[in-house]
Protein backbone atom coordinates (compact mmCIF):
# COMPACT_ATOMS: atom_id res chain seq x y z
CA UNK A 1 0.00 0.00 0.00
CA UNK A 2 1.14 3.53 -0.72
CA UNK A 3 1.86 6.18 1.85
CA UNK A 4 -0.11 9.35 1.34
CA UNK A 5 1.97 12.46 1.86
CA UNK A 6 -0.77 15.10 1.91
CA UNK A 7 -4.08 15.34 3.78
CA UNK A 8 -5.93 15.44 0.50
CA UNK A 9 -4.13 12.35 -0.84
CA UNK A 10 -4.84 10.40 2.36
CA UNK A 11 -8.52 11.35 2.33
CA UNK A 12 -9.07 10.70 -1.39
CA UNK A 13 -6.93 7.55 -1.29
CA UNK A 14 -9.13 6.12 1.46
CA UNK A 15 -12.29 7.00 -0.47
CA UNK A 16 -10.91 5.22 -3.54
CA UNK A 17 -9.87 2.16 -1.50
CA UNK A 18 -13.36 1.96 0.00
CA UNK A 19 -15.09 1.69 -3.40
CA UNK A 20 -14.84 -2.14 -3.67
CA UNK A 21 -16.58 -2.37 -0.25
CA UNK A 22 -19.64 -0.40 -1.38
CA UNK A 23 -21.35 -3.26 -3.28
CA UNK A 24 -21.36 -5.25 -0.01
CA UNK A 25 -22.69 -2.40 2.13
CA UNK A 26 -25.68 -1.61 -0.11
CA UNK A 27 -27.51 -4.97 0.11
CA UNK A 28 -26.92 -5.06 3.88
CA UNK A 29 -28.46 -1.60 4.22
CA UNK A 30 -31.40 -2.73 2.11
CA UNK A 31 -31.90 -5.79 4.33
CA UNK A 32 -32.00 -3.40 7.29
CA UNK A 33 -34.43 -1.00 5.58
CA UNK A 34 -36.81 -3.78 4.65
CA UNK A 35 -36.70 -5.23 8.18
CA UNK A 36 -37.46 -1.79 9.63
CA UNK A 37 -40.43 -1.33 7.30
CA UNK A 38 -41.71 -4.80 8.21
CA UNK A 39 -42.14 -3.87 11.90
CA UNK A 40 -43.94 -0.67 10.94
CA UNK A 41 -41.19 1.92 11.24
CA UNK A 42 -41.51 4.98 9.03
CA UNK A 43 -38.69 5.84 6.58
CA UNK A 44 -37.91 8.89 8.74
CA UNK A 45 -37.49 6.75 11.86
CA UNK A 46 -35.42 4.27 9.87
CA UNK A 47 -33.00 6.89 8.61
CA UNK A 48 -32.70 8.50 12.06
CA UNK A 49 -31.90 5.04 13.47
CA UNK A 50 -29.11 4.58 10.91
CA UNK A 51 -27.65 8.01 11.68
CA UNK A 52 -27.87 7.75 15.49
CA UNK A 53 -26.75 4.11 15.81
CA UNK A 54 -24.61 3.56 12.69
CA UNK A 55 -24.24 -0.16 13.40
CA UNK A 56 -25.93 -2.66 11.08
CA UNK A 57 -25.89 -5.75 13.29
CA UNK A 58 -27.11 -3.85 16.38
CA UNK A 59 -29.84 -2.13 14.35
CA UNK A 60 -31.11 -5.51 13.13
CA UNK A 61 -31.06 -6.88 16.71
CA UNK A 62 -32.98 -3.83 17.95
CA UNK A 63 -35.59 -4.24 15.20
CA UNK A 64 -35.96 -7.94 15.97
CA UNK A 65 -36.53 -7.14 19.66
CA UNK A 66 -38.91 -4.24 18.94
CA UNK A 67 -40.90 -6.59 16.72
CA UNK A 68 -41.22 -9.02 19.63
CA UNK A 69 -42.22 -6.22 22.06
CA UNK A 70 -39.19 -6.96 24.22
CA UNK A 71 -38.66 -4.98 27.43
CA UNK A 72 -36.77 -1.73 27.07
CA UNK A 73 -33.84 -2.87 29.22
CA UNK A 74 -33.48 -6.04 27.13
CA UNK A 75 -33.12 -3.90 24.00
CA UNK A 76 -30.60 -1.57 25.64
CA UNK A 77 -28.48 -4.42 27.03
CA UNK A 78 -28.62 -6.61 23.91
CA UNK A 79 -27.71 -3.90 21.42
CA UNK A 80 -24.93 -2.58 23.64
CA UNK A 81 -23.46 -6.06 24.09
CA UNK A 82 -23.63 -6.69 20.32
CA UNK A 83 -21.42 -3.62 19.91
CA UNK A 84 -18.88 -4.39 22.65
CA UNK A 85 -16.38 -5.02 19.84
CA UNK A 86 -16.30 -1.23 19.38
CA UNK A 87 -14.30 -1.05 22.62
CA UNK A 88 -11.70 -3.37 21.07
CA UNK A 89 -11.63 -1.25 17.89
CA UNK A 90 -11.30 1.86 20.02
CA UNK A 91 -8.30 0.42 21.92
CA UNK A 92 -6.72 -0.87 18.73
CA UNK A 93 -7.07 2.43 16.83
CA UNK A 94 -6.19 4.69 19.76
CA UNK A 95 -2.56 3.54 19.45
CA UNK A 96 -2.45 5.33 16.10
CA UNK A 97 -5.01 8.13 16.54
CA UNK A 98 -3.92 9.24 20.04
CA UNK A 99 -1.80 12.16 18.73
CA UNK A 100 -4.74 13.88 17.05
CA UNK A 101 -6.97 16.55 18.62
CA UNK A 102 -9.94 15.80 20.87
CA UNK A 103 -12.30 17.10 18.19
CA UNK A 104 -10.90 14.64 15.64
CA UNK A 105 -11.11 11.71 18.07
CA UNK A 106 -14.71 12.56 19.09
CA UNK A 107 -15.69 12.88 15.46
CA UNK A 108 -13.92 9.71 14.28
CA UNK A 109 -15.27 7.92 17.36
CA UNK A 110 -18.87 8.59 16.37
CA UNK A 111 -18.07 7.26 12.88
CA UNK A 112 -16.25 4.11 14.10
CA UNK A 113 -17.59 0.97 12.42
CA UNK A 114 -16.32 -2.42 11.24
CA UNK A 115 -15.21 -1.78 7.66
CA UNK A 116 -13.37 1.52 8.26
CA UNK A 117 -11.68 -0.04 11.29
CA UNK A 118 -10.51 -3.02 9.25
CA UNK A 119 -9.24 -0.93 6.34
CA UNK A 120 -7.51 1.66 8.53
CA UNK A 121 -5.85 -0.77 10.94
CA UNK A 122 -4.42 -2.69 7.97
CA UNK A 123 -2.88 0.53 6.62
CA UNK A 124 -1.68 1.80 10.03
CA UNK A 125 -0.03 -1.53 10.86
CA UNK A 126 1.79 -1.59 7.50
CA UNK A 127 2.67 2.13 7.68
CA UNK A 128 2.96 3.08 11.37
CA UNK A 129 4.74 6.34 10.49
CA UNK A 130 2.29 7.43 7.81
CA UNK A 131 1.19 11.07 8.18
CA UNK A 132 -2.45 12.27 8.12
CA UNK A 133 -3.85 9.06 9.59
CA UNK A 134 -6.93 11.00 10.76
CA UNK A 135 -7.77 12.03 7.18
CA UNK A 136 -7.22 8.50 5.91
CA UNK A 137 -9.55 7.05 8.56
CA UNK A 138 -12.04 9.86 7.95
CA UNK A 139 -12.16 8.94 4.23
CA UNK A 140 -13.19 5.37 5.00
CA UNK A 141 -15.58 6.43 7.78
CA UNK A 142 -17.32 9.02 5.63
CA UNK A 143 -17.80 6.50 2.82
CA UNK A 144 -19.32 3.94 5.20
CA UNK A 145 -21.61 6.57 6.79
CA UNK A 146 -22.79 7.91 3.43
CA UNK A 147 -23.43 4.54 1.82
CA UNK A 148 -25.03 3.12 4.96
CA UNK A 149 -27.54 5.98 5.06
CA UNK A 150 -28.18 5.79 1.29
CA UNK A 151 -28.63 2.00 1.38
CA UNK A 152 -30.91 2.25 4.44
CA UNK A 153 -33.04 4.78 2.59
CA UNK A 154 -33.16 2.51 -0.48
CA UNK A 155 -34.49 -0.36 1.66
CA UNK A 156 -36.92 1.92 3.51
CA UNK A 157 -38.36 3.64 0.43
CA UNK A 158 -37.95 1.06 -2.33
CA UNK A 159 -37.89 -2.34 -0.58
CA UNK A 160 -36.04 -5.32 -2.08
CA UNK A 161 -34.51 -3.70 -5.17
CA UNK A 162 -31.56 -6.08 -5.38
CA UNK A 163 -32.50 -9.76 -5.96
CA UNK A 164 -31.34 -11.78 -2.94
CA UNK A 165 -30.24 -14.61 -5.30
CA UNK A 166 -27.26 -12.45 -6.23
CA UNK A 167 -25.96 -12.98 -2.70
CA UNK A 168 -24.16 -9.64 -2.74
CA UNK A 169 -24.04 -9.56 1.08
CA UNK A 170 -21.49 -12.38 0.80
CA UNK A 171 -19.03 -9.67 -0.29
CA UNK A 172 -18.93 -8.55 3.37
CA UNK A 173 -17.22 -11.67 4.84
CA UNK A 174 -14.99 -11.76 1.72
CA UNK A 175 -13.88 -8.22 2.51
CA UNK A 176 -12.98 -9.17 6.08
CA UNK A 177 -11.02 -12.17 4.72
CA UNK A 178 -9.23 -9.87 2.27
CA UNK A 179 -7.95 -7.78 5.19
CA UNK A 180 -7.40 -10.66 7.64
CA UNK A 181 -5.09 -12.66 5.35
CA UNK A 182 -2.36 -9.99 5.03
CA UNK A 183 -2.66 -9.42 8.82
CA UNK A 184 -1.31 -12.95 9.33
CA UNK A 185 2.39 -12.20 9.59
CA UNK A 186 3.72 -15.49 10.96
CA UNK A 187 2.51 -18.80 12.37
CA UNK A 188 1.53 -17.28 15.73
CA UNK A 189 -0.98 -15.03 13.93
CA UNK A 190 -2.18 -18.00 11.90
CA UNK A 191 -2.77 -20.03 15.05
CA UNK A 192 -4.42 -17.15 16.95
CA UNK A 193 -6.64 -16.43 13.94
CA UNK A 194 -7.57 -20.08 13.47
CA UNK A 195 -8.52 -20.54 17.12
CA UNK A 196 -10.59 -17.37 16.97
CA UNK A 197 -12.31 -18.50 13.75
CA UNK A 198 -13.16 -21.97 15.09
CA UNK A 199 -14.50 -20.63 18.40
CA UNK A 200 -16.50 -17.99 16.53
CA UNK A 201 -18.17 -20.60 14.30
CA UNK A 202 -18.96 -22.90 17.24
CA UNK A 203 -20.11 -20.10 19.55
CA UNK A 204 -22.69 -18.52 17.23
CA UNK A 205 -25.61 -19.81 19.38
CA UNK A 206 -24.46 -17.68 22.34
CA UNK A 207 -26.74 -14.66 22.82
CA UNK A 208 -26.09 -11.13 21.53
CA UNK A 209 -22.97 -11.85 19.52
CA UNK A 210 -21.04 -12.74 22.71
CA UNK A 211 -19.56 -15.69 20.77
CA UNK A 212 -17.53 -13.13 18.82
CA UNK A 213 -16.04 -11.73 22.04
CA UNK A 214 -15.28 -15.23 23.34
CA UNK A 215 -13.58 -16.09 20.03
CA UNK A 216 -11.45 -12.95 20.09
CA UNK A 217 -10.51 -13.55 23.75
CA UNK A 218 -9.36 -17.11 22.93
CA UNK A 219 -7.44 -15.96 19.85
CA UNK A 220 -5.71 -13.13 21.73
CA UNK A 221 -4.76 -15.53 24.53
CA UNK A 222 -3.08 -17.80 21.98
CA UNK A 223 -1.27 -14.79 20.50
CA UNK A 224 -0.10 -13.53 23.91
CA UNK A 225 1.18 -16.96 24.93
CA UNK A 226 2.97 -17.79 21.69
CA UNK A 227 3.97 -14.36 20.38
CA UNK A 228 7.44 -12.85 20.76
CA UNK A 229 7.71 -10.03 23.27
CA UNK A 230 9.32 -7.31 21.15
CA UNK A 231 6.74 -4.91 19.82
Amino acid sequence: MTKFSTERAAFLGAIREFLPIVPGVIPFGIVYGVAATDIGMTPFEGIIMSIFMLAGAAQLVTIELLGRDAALWVILVSATVVNLRFIIYSASLSQYLKPYSLQWRLFLGYLLTDQPYALSIAYFTENPDAPHKQWYHFGHSLMLWTWWVIASAMGLFLGDVIPSEWNLTFAIPLMFLAIAVPAIKDWTYLLAGSVSAIVAVLAVPLPNNTGLLLAVACGLMVGVILGKDES
Binding site: L19, I21, P23, G24, M41, E45, I48, F52, M53, L54, T62, I75, L76, A79, T80, L84, F86, S90, A91, S94, Q95, K98, L102, R105, L106, G109, L112, A118, A122, T125, F170, A171, P173, L174, F176, L177, A178, A180, V181, P182, A183, A192, G193, V195, S196, A197, V199, A200, V201, L202, V204, G211, A215, V216, G219, L220, V222, V224, G227, S231
Partner: protein, 108 residues
Protein backbone atom coordinates in the same frame (compact mmCIF):
# COMPACT_ATOMS: atom_id res chain seq x y z
CA UNK B 1 -41.54 9.75 18.64
CA UNK B 2 -40.32 7.62 21.58
CA UNK B 3 -38.63 5.36 19.01
CA UNK B 4 -36.43 8.32 18.11
CA UNK B 5 -35.60 8.76 21.81
CA UNK B 6 -34.71 5.05 22.07
CA UNK B 7 -32.41 5.30 19.03
CA UNK B 8 -30.78 8.37 20.55
CA UNK B 9 -30.11 6.60 23.85
CA UNK B 10 -28.75 3.54 22.03
CA UNK B 11 -26.55 5.76 19.88
CA UNK B 12 -25.27 7.39 23.08
CA UNK B 13 -24.42 3.98 24.58
CA UNK B 14 -22.58 3.04 21.37
CA UNK B 15 -20.75 6.35 21.48
CA UNK B 16 -19.45 5.50 24.97
CA UNK B 17 -18.12 2.21 23.57
CA UNK B 18 -16.61 3.89 20.52
CA UNK B 19 -14.96 6.66 22.52
CA UNK B 20 -13.77 4.39 25.34
CA UNK B 21 -10.08 4.22 24.46
CA UNK B 22 -10.03 6.90 21.75
CA UNK B 23 -11.08 9.63 24.19
CA UNK B 24 -11.81 8.60 27.81
CA UNK B 25 -8.79 6.32 28.28
CA UNK B 26 -6.48 7.93 25.73
CA UNK B 27 -3.93 8.83 28.43
CA UNK B 28 -3.91 5.31 29.83
CA UNK B 29 -0.47 3.74 29.38
CA UNK B 30 -1.21 0.23 28.16
CA UNK B 31 0.87 -2.49 29.80
CA UNK B 32 3.12 -4.51 27.43
CA UNK B 33 0.84 -7.54 27.70
CA UNK B 34 -2.17 -5.56 26.45
CA UNK B 35 -0.11 -4.02 23.62
CA UNK B 36 0.99 -7.50 22.64
CA UNK B 37 -2.63 -8.70 22.63
CA UNK B 38 -3.65 -5.70 20.50
CA UNK B 39 -1.19 -6.78 17.78
CA UNK B 40 -3.34 -9.87 17.33
CA UNK B 41 -6.67 -8.01 17.26
CA UNK B 42 -6.99 -7.48 13.47
CA UNK B 43 -6.30 -11.11 12.50
CA UNK B 44 -8.51 -12.58 15.26
CA UNK B 45 -11.51 -10.26 15.11
CA UNK B 46 -11.73 -10.12 11.30
CA UNK B 47 -11.66 -13.92 11.02
CA UNK B 48 -14.15 -14.22 13.89
CA UNK B 49 -16.55 -11.92 12.00
CA UNK B 50 -16.02 -13.54 8.59
CA UNK B 51 -15.94 -17.29 9.28
CA UNK B 52 -19.45 -17.82 10.74
CA UNK B 53 -20.96 -16.32 7.56
CA UNK B 54 -18.85 -18.71 5.49
CA UNK B 55 -19.10 -21.92 7.51
CA UNK B 56 -22.74 -21.63 8.54
CA UNK B 57 -25.76 -21.78 6.23
CA UNK B 58 -29.20 -20.76 7.53
CA UNK B 59 -27.80 -20.90 11.05
CA UNK B 60 -26.40 -24.47 10.95
CA UNK B 61 -22.73 -25.40 10.58
CA UNK B 62 -22.21 -26.48 6.95
CA UNK B 63 -18.77 -27.60 5.86
CA UNK B 64 -19.90 -29.47 2.74
CA UNK B 65 -18.47 -28.58 -0.68
CA UNK B 66 -20.69 -25.53 -1.13
CA UNK B 67 -20.28 -22.27 -3.08
CA UNK B 68 -19.42 -20.22 0.02
CA UNK B 69 -16.52 -22.47 1.02
CA UNK B 70 -15.22 -22.71 -2.56
CA UNK B 71 -15.46 -18.92 -2.84
CA UNK B 72 -13.65 -18.43 0.48
CA UNK B 73 -10.76 -20.68 -0.69
CA UNK B 74 -10.36 -18.64 -3.88
CA UNK B 75 -10.63 -15.41 -1.90
CA UNK B 76 -7.92 -16.52 0.56
CA UNK B 77 -5.58 -17.42 -2.31
CA UNK B 78 -6.33 -14.10 -4.03
CA UNK B 79 -5.77 -12.16 -0.79
CA UNK B 80 -2.50 -13.98 -0.14
CA UNK B 81 -1.13 -13.49 -3.67
CA UNK B 82 -2.42 -9.99 -4.49
CA UNK B 83 -3.00 -8.33 -1.06
CA UNK B 84 -5.70 -6.37 -2.89
CA UNK B 85 -9.17 -6.07 -1.38
CA UNK B 86 -10.83 -5.48 -4.73
CA UNK B 87 -9.15 -8.50 -6.38
CA UNK B 88 -10.07 -10.66 -3.39
CA UNK B 89 -13.76 -9.71 -3.43
CA UNK B 90 -13.97 -10.14 -7.22
CA UNK B 91 -12.23 -13.55 -7.10
CA UNK B 92 -14.48 -14.66 -4.26
CA UNK B 93 -17.76 -13.48 -5.79
CA UNK B 94 -16.93 -14.93 -9.24
CA UNK B 95 -15.99 -18.26 -7.63
CA UNK B 96 -19.24 -18.10 -5.63
CA UNK B 97 -21.51 -17.43 -8.63
CA UNK B 98 -19.71 -19.91 -10.91
CA UNK B 99 -19.63 -22.76 -8.36
CA UNK B 100 -23.25 -22.04 -7.40
CA UNK B 101 -24.19 -22.37 -11.09
CA UNK B 102 -22.08 -25.50 -11.70
CA UNK B 103 -23.20 -27.27 -8.52
CA UNK B 104 -26.77 -26.42 -9.56
CA UNK B 105 -26.23 -28.16 -12.90
CA UNK B 106 -24.80 -31.25 -11.17
CA UNK B 107 -27.79 -31.44 -8.85
CA UNK B 108 -30.24 -31.64 -11.76
Amino acid sequence: MNLILLFFVLGLFFLLERLSFLVFLSDYEMPPLLLKALRYVPATILLAIAMPSILRTDGAIDISLNPKIIAACFAIIAAWRTRQIFATIIAGMLAFWLSDYLLGLLAL
